[in-house]
């Protein structure tokens, strides 16, 4: 009996170490392969853009899903012979793709719908916006009694131990603190002293959208610097969160972008996909599905979302209601921001 127990124990201890067989994904030969985040992002891209694209062109669409950096790593190791044809990623991470020669220059002649989009969504010769959102203050009024109406309210002593914010990318709060002190994302050091005052107010830092939403749901982080899209998603789930349109400084805009991978053999199809994604009709559907701001200024925004943070319906709103960081400064400063943030706000 004892020897059998030993064998069983050894087998069970080593069981988790046995890897699953790696089966390469089989893809249809003529399919356009799109790289995008998983979950709701992929489902929405497929439902709103992919299906319409296939119906229009007859070209099937397949997806490579993963986190921002997983997909970047895969793109790097397959440079010159990409596994995907078209990539979705945030605008400052796109700068890393561009710096490594992973993107093909966009042919604007093949993107007639690009003429209808906000100037701010034309990010570079290589990548173009697909939708926008803001990082702003979001809170649960049932757990925070005083109204929060501006960024500077985060410094209230009554919010001690209640705030959660992203640690993977502290650029939003760093930029806001710098703006408060007369600086910006380039001379961000001006906001250092102001930021340090927030240290005791922070309950937790989150690394993923899911963590952010969990912190809000459980009440562990009832006041957050949060992605507007995630806040609207929580509202849909019945969590009563308030998304603040800050009165002092605007929300910090994030733009997700599309690009054609350098070396793709389906560059034309990828351009068609992007052009379709930029059309008024598809943009209208994207707003409804994602609760994100359209980049096409002619897209229809549902009445319930009009004027909400992160939803820009006109050229004027793009200018006035969101702060857009310089992509290059953001990509270059991010490592230094994270290091400073960890040393001064995260560490005990």
């Amino acid at each position: 009996m004892r020897s059998r127990l030993v064998v069983l124990i050894v087998a069970l201890v080593t069981l988790p170490l046995v890897p699953l067989p790696l089966v390469p994904t089989a893809r249809a030969q003529n399919a356009l392969v799109v790289s995008v985040w998983g979950g709701n992002w992929k489902d929405t891209v497929d439902k709103v853009i992919g299906k319409a694209f296939t119906a229009k062109t007859g070209i099937p669409v397949e997806y490579e899903v993963g986190g921002t950096i997983d997909r970047l790593s895969k793109a790097r190791v397959s440079k010159g012979n990409p596994l995907v044809d078209l990539n979705f990623t945030t605008t400052h991470v796109a700068r890393l793709y561009i710096s490594d020669g992973l993107y093909e220059k966009l042919d604007l002649a093949k993107l007639p719908n690009a003429k209808e989009i906000a100037r701010e969504a034309l990010r570079s010769d290589y990548h173009i916006g697909s939708w926008a959102y803001v990082y702003t203050v979001v809170y649960r009024p049932d757990l925070v009694k005083e109204d929060i109406t501006k960024w500077s309210d985060l410094w209230r002593p009554s919010l001690k131990g209640k705030i959660a914010m992203p640690d993977f990318d502290p650029s939003h709060i760093i930029t806001i603190a710098a703006l408060m002190e007369g600086g910006n994302e380039v001379d961000w050091q001006k906001g250092e002293a102001k930021l340090k005052q927030l240290k005791d107010s922070i309950a937790a830092f989150y690394s993923t959208d899911a963590q952010s939403q969990d912190l809000m749901k459980t009440g562990q982080g009832p006041v957050q610097v949060m992605l507007s899209v995630n806040a609207y998603h929580l509202q849909e789930q019945g969590i009563a969160v308030k998304v603040v349109q800050p009165a002092d400084y605007p929300g910090v805009v994030g733009i997700d972008t599309m690009a054609v991978m350098a070396g793709s053999k389906k560059s034309d199809a990828a351009h068609q996909f992007i052009n379709l994604a930029l059309s008024k009709e598809v943009q209208t559907e994207l707003v409804k599905a994602l609760r994100a701001g359209p980049v096409n200024l002619g897209a229809t925004v549902p009445a319930t979302l009009k004027g909400q943070p992160g939803i820009f319906a006109s050229a004027a709103e793009w200018k006035q209601r969101g702060y857009i960081m310089n992509d290059e400064a953001r990509a270059k400063n991010l490592p230094a921001w994270r290091e400073w943030f960890t040393a001064n706000l995260v560490k005990k």
Partner: protein
């Protein structure tokens, strides 16, 4: 007896794995000496700047915190797991043994992430109101790590205890030793090989723990793996991440060698 040729053949798969692992480590080593260019994935020339950077106080503090948390986790896991392992190995009842085994193995089938999310609910003030904050503190992370390590420690200790012939304990008892004395003078020393191997395994894997401190630490408790991820995946500083990983690997190997050396005498 196996012939030398057979031994070589038997070792071949392990050597292939070792070669791949060595190549990956070699690549990591090379990356740790490449210059990081902020805002770019391209690297510059060879430099020692990454190694100098990871010797900054905040990174050394992470290594210190990781070692302390790992040592505490090992100790607490041992204390919590030993009685369960003893019951598993010594109970005459098949039903009790099956129940303990099922309860011990159940966590293996739920996955680290699910278990850790459950701890978020328990350690937060949602289910229990704790007298001191637990979630997003070292205390909370310690609880999660001990829970994560317990099943393995129980199984290793149970295997060691099941190898001890009860005749030794009966002999001690018949010579007048009290149950406590029997335990301290006979059972515990004879189970030392299990304690050492279980302790080393728990200590080693806690040194590289990632999901538990990531989720239960709320970004405030950072262990080595979390900082490597932060540097590599959030700051895009792959040379920095490689340098910190190499430093951590060197320290881990040195620590494990020291612990192994210290305990070798006791285990034999």
């Amino acid at each position: 007896m196996l012939a030398t040729r057979d031994v070589k053949l038997a070792l071949l798969p392990a050597l292939v794995v070792l070669a791949v692992f060595a190549a990956a480590l070699g690549s990591l080593f090379r990356w740790s000496f490449l210059e990081f260019v902020p805002g770019s994935l391209q690297t510059g020339g060879l430099t020692l700047a990454n190694l100098r950077a990871v010797l900054a106080p905040q990174y050394l503090a992470t290594i210190r915190d990781t070692v302390v948390l790992s040592a505490l986790t090992t100790l607490l896991t041992l204390v919590a797991a030993y009685p369960v392992a003893y019951a598993l190995a010594r109970t005459p009842s098949r039903r009790v043994r099956s129940t303990i085994l099922v309860l011990t193995l159940a966590p293996f089938f739920t996955g680290a992430i699910v278990r850790t999310y459950a701890w978020i609910l328990v350690l937060g003030n949602t289910v229990i109101t704790w007298p001191a904050p637990m979630l997003f503190t070292e205390r909370g992370v310690l609880v999660g790590l001990v829970h994560f390590s317990m099943p393995t420690m129980i199984l290793i200790l149970a295997a060691a205890l099941s190898h001890i012939d009860p005749v030794y304990e009966r002999a001690a008892t018949s010579l007048g030793a009290s149950p406590a004395r029997v335990f301290w003078r006979v059972t515990l020393p004879l189970s030392m090989p299990g304690i050492v191997s279980g302790g080393l395994i728990v200590f080693a894997w806690t040194l590289s723990a990632f999901p538990t401190p990531e989720l239960l630490g709320g970004g405030k408790v950072k262990m080595i793996a979390n900082v490597v991820k932060d540097l590599g995946l959030d700051s895009f500083n792959w040379p920095g991440a490689a340098a910190f990983a190499m430093l951590a690997l060197a320290l881990t190997l040195a620590l494990l060698a020291a612990v192994g050396r210290l305990t070798a005498g006791r285990a034999s």
